[in-house]
């Protein structure tokens, strides 16, 4: 454990843990969009900026990628930090016009007018949570970033059906803007953003098409044997 200071208060944190998580664990809110405690840190959205002093050096940096080291002094609310976060948010805002969480966060940060416009905003802020979740949490590795710079986008390979997608919906839940849709109609599940269509297995008791066959198959292929051979015959409600 190491001693760190955040906004004048002393805390103990596990050495090497990122500053953002240490702050959140101690009830200190730092806005963040591309960070999730169960995924590797990315440092892309730039919202979680803080001022960190280590020895003689002070830098403005992202708290999600900076490790807790003995004696660091963190400030989350200096005028420079707040100004930086606000400008970063101004740059993100035009990308997600229909994302209530983003819009609310912007208002909270004191942004009242939008100075930049984006012609074909797709509500994706390029945070990468979906791709990282698909790779690290799920292991399907079905979607990816493509392109470079302002042309960077998240898509399935070749922009065609994401054949490795198992329809688990993790990307849908983890996305901060809600730009990934998952639609269940009858025994079909579609994720339009990944051009993916999957067949759903019905619960033998209540008949609810509740899980994609692909998801069951994926778990089996990875050697994750269910508690019983007919485990998936019943949906969670009926089990």
């Amino acid at each position: 454990m190491v001693n760190i200071t955040i906004d004048g208060q002393q805390f103990q944190a596990a050495e090497g843990q990122n500053v953002l998580q240490a702050a959140l664990d101690n009830g200190i809110e730092i806005p963040h969009l591309c960070y999730h405690e169960n995924l590797s840190s990315y440092g892309g959205c730039r919202l979680c900026l803080v001022e960190i002093t280590r020895g003689q050096r002070t830098t403005l940096t992202t708290s999600c990628t900076y490790p807790c080291l003995e004696g660091i002094v963190v400030r989350t609310d200096t005028p420079e930090v707040l100004k930086a976060r606000r400008l970063v948010m101004e740059l993100l805002l035009p990308l997600a016009p229909e994302a209530p969480q983003i819009q609310a966060l912007a208002r909270e940060m004191g942004i009242s007018e939008q100075r930049f416009t984006e012609e074909e905003a797709d509500n994706c802020i390029r945070c990468g949570l979906c791709t990282r979740a698909c790779t690290e949490m799920v292991g399907a590795q079905a979607i990816t970033f493509s392109g470079r710079g302002y042309r960077r986008a998240v898509e399935s390979p070749f922009g065609e059906e994401a054949v490795d997608c198992i329809g688990c919906g993790t990307c849908v839940y983890i996305c901060p803007t809600g730009c990934i849709e998952m639609l269940d109609r009858g025994t079909q599940r579609t994720l339009p953003k990944w051009k993916r269509t999957l067949e759903l297995k019905k619960c033998t008791k209540c008949g609810w098409p509740y899980i994609p066959f692909a998801q069951i198959e994926f778990a089996r292929q990875r050697g994750q044997e269910p508690p019983a051979a007919d485990w998936f015959d019943l949906c969670p409600n009926c089990r």
């Binding site: 900076y66 930086a84 470079r148 710079g149 042309r151 960077r152």
Partner: protein, 616 residues
């Protein structure tokens, strides 16, 4: 080719080579660097070979293809040794005259360099003002070496430094010498190489790596390319010395794929060095093992950033990583990795052979040694120049560069590439070094030096750099990805006459957030061209925004091409060549350009013989 098992064997070989080379025998060298290659210097080489053959002189005259001499404006360059007669702009047809003159101990007058202003001709290479005012410590070797022949490098004293280090010096001695020499990184950062080496050496992990950053991406800079193409063994020797000092057993050279000749010559050099036992196991019988692998870049400027380069070598996408993790402590596959630029490595053999004290005798306070610059753009003597640190900027542009062509007026010189800035006339007496250039709002960068004249628009220059950066941004962090995009949008609008009040202030805000919050140096320095042009040429921005006027007459939307009826004789050349059919009128009477159809391509201006086309 045979394995050298000791320093003694190396020196024996070197002596044999020197003896074999009859120093009286004339040698005709032809520059085969990419610049001269573009001027068909390979054809010149072939023509000379044919002529030598035809005269039955194959045994009497040596013909050697070398790397870049640096005087690219005057290429193809042919230099005769030992007389050091320098011929410029040589064509294949000149081969006969060159041989004839050589046989009669004369010179071909028309091929000599002629000063464009004074008209004076110069015979010897070292008399030519372009070369005379330089200190060609590193680049100077290029003219003597065929990069495909390691024996040329041996003959020049190559691998002497390595031999000295392996016999007389410990790794700590080598490191101490480089530290003492105050060698600062030549790739742009200017960070003390010795300190970086030390950090890497002292890092706890035993497995370490050394890397050559040959991803030279600044547009307009090609110093590293010429070094790798023309003298790959120099860079290799530096790398081996570094590996020895740091304790690395494996090294990588990351070269951009846009440099095929450099990749070729370097690969061959590595093979040869391996064959001679200068790379691999038990180098020169010292017990030191080191091997090198070459990796190619694939067209991404951002991959030249240290942490991105490390990712690329690992087989990941070449994107930068958060910077508080020092590559020297945790780099390739988490191991300590020392990364330096090509030119930095090239300095090392000289420092080890001649000593840090000698190196410290060149340059000024805090900035030691020489620096190679690519002097290009609106300058008479375009090429690669090597000068001691601290030389006044004016000397480079006027004495070496020969000033601005066509009598035009100097406006600014851009240094540091897309991360740098423009320096105006009033600062031309500034000494060129890392620190002073930074004070002026620019930076040394990798060495690109682009001269601009009165016909260049500084807003257009800022837009050009921002366009480059927005396309090269990896897109990972919001600040750079969106910041460069928005700054470009504003600059583009300004050049189109759609600038609005408040645009400059908005640019400055975006510059601030991009600088302060971007993940890597690409984003952090992206605003420099804008900020420096605003600093020195604000009135140009204001003219574009407030008056919808481009003072330099460059921005297409703000200029008109017209024909001066007093000067036009109606010859019709412009009319015939206009791709938009925008010029109308009867032959033999003054013609008229339809501004709405005109695409500002500039062809009419080019073809008019009466100076009748005016841009306003």
């Amino acid at each position: 080719m045979f394995r050298l098992n000791s320093v003694g064997e190396l020196e024996k070989l070197r002596a044999e080579i020197s003896e074999k080379r009859d120093t009286g025998k004339p040698c005709i060298t032809t520059c085969l660097g990419t610049g001269c290659h573009a001027y068909a210097s390979y054809d010149v080489y072939d023509a000379l070979a044919e002529e030598i053959d035809a005269r039955g002189l194959k045994e009497k005259i040596e013909l050697r293809g070398t790397g870049c001499h640096g005087f690219c404006e005057q290429g193809p360059i042919v230099v005769i040794f030992p007389s050091e007669i320098c011929y410029c702009r040589v064509q294949p047809e000149d081969a006969a005259d060159i041989l004839a003159a050589l046989m009669e101990d004369k010179v071909v007058d028309r091929l000599l360099y002629e000063d464009p202003v004074s008209g004076q001709k110069y015979e010897r290479e070292d008399e030519i003002p372009f070369y005379k005012n330089q200190n060609r410590l590193i680049l100077g070797q290029n003219r003597l070496i065929d990069p495909q022949n390691i024996e040329d490098y041996f003959a020049q004293g190559g691998y002497k430094a390595l031999a000295k280090a392996l016999t007389d010096m410990t790794p700590e001695d080598v490191l101490a010498e480089v530290k003492k020499a105050n060698l600062r990184g030549r790739g742009g950062g200017g960070f003390p190489a010795g300190v970086k080496w030390e950090t890497t050496r002292q890092a706890p992990e035993k497995e370490k790596y050394v890397v050559v950053n040959a991803d030279e991406g600044d547009p307009g800079a090609y110093m590293d390319r010429s070094l790798l193409e023309g003298n790959p063994h120099l860079v290799l020797e530096g790398l081996i010395l570094g590996a020895y000092a740091i304790g690395a057993a494996e090294g990588f050279v990351y070269v951009r794929q846009e440099y095929p000749l450099a990749v070729d010559n370097l690969s061959r050099a590595v093979e040869q060095a391996q064959g001679y036992g200068l790379l691999g196991d038990n180098i020169l019988g010292s017990g030191f093992n080191f091997r090198v692998r070459i990796k190619r870049g694939a067209g991404a400027f951002v991959s030249g950033e240290s942490s991105a380069l490390v990712s690329a070598i690992e087989g990941q996408v070449g994107e930068p990583r958060p910077k508080h993790i020092n590559t020297a402590i945790s780099g390739l596959w988490g191991k300590p990795t020392n990364l330096n630029n090509v030119e930095t490595w090239a300095n090392v053999p000289f420092i080890i052979e001649r000593g840090a004290d000698w190196f410290n005798g060149i340059g000024n306070e805090g900035n030691k040694g020489t620096k190679i610059f690519s002097l290009v753009g609106k300058v008479n003597n375009t090429g690669l120049v090597e000068v001691p640190m601290g030389i006044p900027l004016r000397k480079i542009i006027e004495d070496i560069g020969g000033g601005i062509p066509q009598g035009k007026k100097f406006k600014a010189v851009q240094t540091g590439g897309p991360s740098g800035g423009c320096i105006p006339e009033q600062h031309l007496d500034t000494p060129v070094d890392f620190d002073r250039l930074q004070e002026l709002g620019s930076m040394m960068g990798s060495g690109g030096m682009i001269v601009m004249d009165e016909n260049n628009c500084m807003v257009d220059v800022a837009k050009y750099f921002m366009n480059f950066l927005k396309d090269e941004s990896c897109g990972k962090c919001t600040s750079c990805r969106e910041g460069t995009k928005r700054m470009y949008e504003i600059l583009e609008a300004i050049t189109k006459g759609e600038g609005r009040a408040g645009d400059i202030e908005l640019l400055e805000e975006l510059a601030w957030v991009t600088e302060k919050t971007s993940l890597c140096a690409l984003g952090q320095t992206a605003a420099n061209p804008v900020l420096s042009t605003l600093r020195y040429f604000r009135e140009e921005y204001e003219a574009h925004i407030n008056e919808k006027r481009c003072p330099a007459k460059v921005c297409k939307a703000l200029i008109r091409y017209t024909i001066d009826p007093e000067k036009c004789d109606g010859c019709g050349r412009c009319q015939r060549n206009c791709p938009e059919e925008a010029i109308s009128g009867e032959l033999k009477s003054p013609l008229v350009i339809d501004t709405d159809r005109c695409s500002r391509c500039g062809i009419c201006l080019e073809v008019c013989r009466r100076d009748a086309v005016v841009v306003e």
